[in-house]
Symmetry: C2
Subunit: 372 residues, 2 copies
């Protein structure tokens, strides 16, 4: 393998695939990036146990291809080294099958490679489903749901986001069992699907997306994995196995009280009121609604007490009291882009529903904290 | 104690003194900020075992003083809470001597305080020396020397910077015994002094300085401490006890070879060449000078080899070979602001001297690595 390539082009693609390199991996080839050059172009691939990222550089974009071939190079060193080079072009040569010489006008790096035949292969499965998402739709799913997924290894299914589709409606749900985030998107195709994608994979793929919001992401669903196609990148992730609980019955149809509150002000108040409990796992805030005033209180026996008031608009004149985690409420409020937020309540033991005034595709749910 | 004060004014001063709060401290009052209000104004003080920071707000700047008094408030919570407030004015009231009520239009925080009589007192000592530095001079001392100080607790004297003065020349030296950084400043006064200031104190004080480079810092030296006066801030630090080694004889008068090299290019080359050894403690780079070419090489038995070349201008036609730590060389080169750097060598066992072409007040020294 020998070729000459523009430094910035190579760096951009190496940066993209390097997100799949796991530094903790004990299998040496998984710490590397597989370079494979054939008559079509240069294919760069990296993978860990969960995801695989491939970037393809068309031969037209490569300055000179002297000979085809392939080799694995340590990802950590190659990306850093290419980044630090100031030359415009880089000359790659595989020497005696195991070493790579990376040359510019004034510099030479000889780095040991690994045999490409040891690199994991793409396993071919039959496609179950496929559909398309716009970049902005994907980003919206991530920002509206991902934070609510669980981190606990005891219930691995909750560490993913549930993508289910029925009659052309895609519903994305994340929950850690204490709160839930849901976001819906209309698909152009009528597909039937119910999969759970690991949060980490969704978040890694999100980093590969640039700001061109109208670009399309091709999604192919297989029995045990998902493949996302975007520009010259192919991103593959395992799916989580197991059954995701049916969360739709958690969301009531009727509410005892619905009120509207200014989003930013409500956020700031909770942020301040909860300060004395910021180091505690349960940062409980108490909300008392009397007439058109919401009073928020947080008490720490050792430190003191914080109280704030804010005006609200109610749908009836019921007074109410409920307690919740300030952390969960703040994270839910961050997803609301409208000036006002709708809060829906049933009784003090039932979930709190948080919605935007201008987006009925998104919903946040928080389980209250029971205080006596 | 009861007063009304502008939020931003209080926050700025709390931010400054809070740098002396140590979160690790076991003495409760040291986690607090002492508020002391008298007929002159509000004095805010925080301290740990090494430093004490005091900020004074003149009564003219306080909106209303209703009653004088003092109390200690937990630093961590008070600074965060004041920062999060959006109100313009804040009303402070000490309730029954131990609680503080912090009130704005819509918010109320009641926080437990501590008795000010438990707060450490400023111990008065006789002044030994005093002089003045400009802010830009102080910042230059920090950027030219601080990084070279040791971190090891086994030789505590090396964790400080040695400030010695003789005949109006202040000489600041930091060393970890493998490299040394020196910076000299002409003082307006002829004083005699030899003290060692803890690096951490110097760095904390540096954070309090704003960009007004011509402002003056008043320095008062005592037997076991130093006091720095800047704007409305009084900063006090312990001095390190013990004798700082005399480092002046380490710097030779004559050199076998002196050469000039482009600073940025030299920096980038060492940064790239040393990449394969970036994780190792001794990241050795070998420098071979032949005619007007310097060849830099770094070898890692497991990974490979990097080689680069760069032109230099020598003062004679001696060829040379020496090895050094890339980390130390990079850190030394960062202090050089001139386009070219002067490197002075004696033999491959003797220290390497690194100097700017336009600032003879600064000097960097690196002990070579002996390779066979």
């Amino acid at each position: 393998m020998e070729f000459i390539i523009n430094k910035n082009l190579l760096l951009e693609n190496l940066n993209n695939v390097s997100k799949a390199i796991s530094s903790k991996n004990l299998i040496p080839v998984l710490a590397g990036i597989n370079f494979s050059l054939d008559s079509k172009g240069l294919s760069l691939t990296a993978c860990d146990n969960e995801i695989m990222i491939n970037a393809f550089i068309n031969k037209k974009e490569i300055k000179d291809i002297i000979s085809e071939g392939n080799i694995i190079i340590s990802g950590k060193y190659i990306v850093e080294y290419i980044r630090k080079l100031t030359a415009e072009d880089i000359h790659f040569t595989v020497l005696d099958g195991t070493k790579v010489l990376i040359k510019t006008n004034h510099s030479e790096l000889t780095i040991n490679g690994m045999d490409s035949s040891d690199f994991p292969k793409w396993e071919i499965e039959k496609t179950v489903n496929n559909f398309e998402l716009k970049v902005n739709e994907y980003k919206e799913i991530i920002s509206q749901t991902l934070f609510a997924a669980g981190v606990s290894e005891t219930r691995p299914i909750f560490t993913g986001v549930n993508f289910s589709a029925e009659k052309g409606l895609l519903s994305c749900v994340a929950t850690d069992s204490y709160r839930l985030a849901k976001y819906k998107i209309n698909l152009e195709k009528d597909i039937d699907m119910n999969i759970v994608i690991p949060s980490k994979s969704l978040s890694e793929f999100n980093k590969l997306l640039n700001d061109n919001k109208q670009k399309t992401i091709g999604v192919q669903v297989y029995v045990s994995k998902i493949v996302l196609n975007y520009e010259n990148i192919i991103f593959q992730s395992k799916l989580l196995s197991g059954t995701y609980p049916n969360t739709s019955q958690l969301i009531p149809d009727n509410y005892e009280l619905i009120f509207e509150i200014k989003t930013n002000e409500f956020y700031q108040i909770i942020d301040r009121v909860s300060l004395l409990n910021m180091d505690k796992e349960k940062n409980t805030v108490n909300l008392v609604i009397k007439n058109d005033i919401a009073t928020l209180t947080s008490t720490s026996p050792e430190l003191g007490k914080a109280v704030e008031q804010i005006e609200i608009t109610k749908n009836n004149n019921i007074d109410f009291e409920i307690s919740f985690s300030s952390k969960f409420m703040l994270e839910a409020l961050k997803t609301i882009k409208s000036e006002k937020t709708i809060i829906k309540l049933n009784d003090r033991l039932k979930p709190i529903i948080i919605e935007s005034t201008d987006n009925n595709h998104a919903l946040q749910l928080i389980v209250p904290i029971i205080t006596y």
